[in-house]
Symmetry: C3
Subunit: 138 residues, 3 copies
Amino acid sequence: MVFQQQLNFHTQPRSTMNITSEIQSIVAQSRIRIGTCHVFVQHTSASLMLCENADPDVRRDLETYMQHIVPDGDAMFLHQDEGPDDMSAHIRTILTNPELTMPVRDSQCDLGVWQGIYLWEHRMQQYKRKLIVTVLGE
Amino acid sequence: MVFQQQLNFHTQPRSTMNITSEIQSIVAQSRIRIGTCHVFVQHTSASLMLCENADPDVRRDLETYMQHIVPDGDAMFLHQDEGPDDMSAHIRTILTNPELTMPVRDSQCDLGVWQGIYLWEHRMQQYKRKLIVTVLGE
Amino acid sequence: MVFQQQLNFHTQPRSTMNITSEIQSIVAQSRIRIGTCHVFVQHTSASLMLCENADPDVRRDLETYMQHIVPDGDAMFLHQDEGPDDMSAHIRTILTNPELTMPVRDSQCDLGVWQGIYLWEHRMQQYKRKLIVTVLGE
């Protein structure tokens, strides 16, 4: 069995958004009991991550770290068409990945207690981001 | 067809563990001949990687490199609840990924000759880590 | 339904190669209408990425960035058997990932307008790289 659905999110500039409940809701609707759930971002400047879901400082530190290792507007980058966050957003997306697969059991993503699913907007403005969720199994 | 099984590993502090044979054994048990095998770590401080399986120096260098780009206990991190390896372990996990999919053929993960599946413990103590393996196919 | 096929590519030294049409062609052949497409590189020195497909400077900047954060032949690396690009190629592969899953709809990978699938050769010589493509769905 296959269940596929599109999800749209309006992101805030350079921020993370907990989308766990939206994903879990689609998996519940799929009525697929056991299998996998794949989430895919149709963009090259936003990504997904499984992150600690308790202390918001973890995501603040992740942002601090990313700015540290992928400096915005660095002189080494040629591609600056849309501003200093253009190339850095592409690199951040590739380092952290725009797609994610999770196991499904009892019609839920079988996450660990401290795992949340986050959509990470890497651009410095808000966007409408389109995600495709595909549940496979039986 | 779907086959899903839980695997528990007792890790050593900040180290890599070759788990290829345990994963291959589950795929063989599944009796699924062709499809995919997904492996998922239910934690935010341990990850999976496909790594060169011949020279142990490769994994030693990976550890050296990670300590170099993700410094433990760095002053830029606010989240230090569980010690200097707390936030760095979350970042290392996100950079290297806690989940992995491989092709299945003839009831085996169809890996390259030099590819091994490794579980990477990023914390500086030993843990019991829970993994979910899902084989999909026919 | 499962459809699996091997693809071989002859890469150029340390370069990226747009393989979108080759992957889309396999998905079309599979006649699977809806599901997922998984692409897997059977090597530890080449990886896959979804990258902006319009401006070639994006991939040039990615290469510049990788050389910046993963220095070739750095004295911290013990594993130098095959030259200064040996260990750096392993690290680059692990940071960017040798496997990728995409949603399938209407017998095509359902990519965003700006997303292309690229094979990234991290070694400084040309290689024959073997990929396994697995389409799952119905």
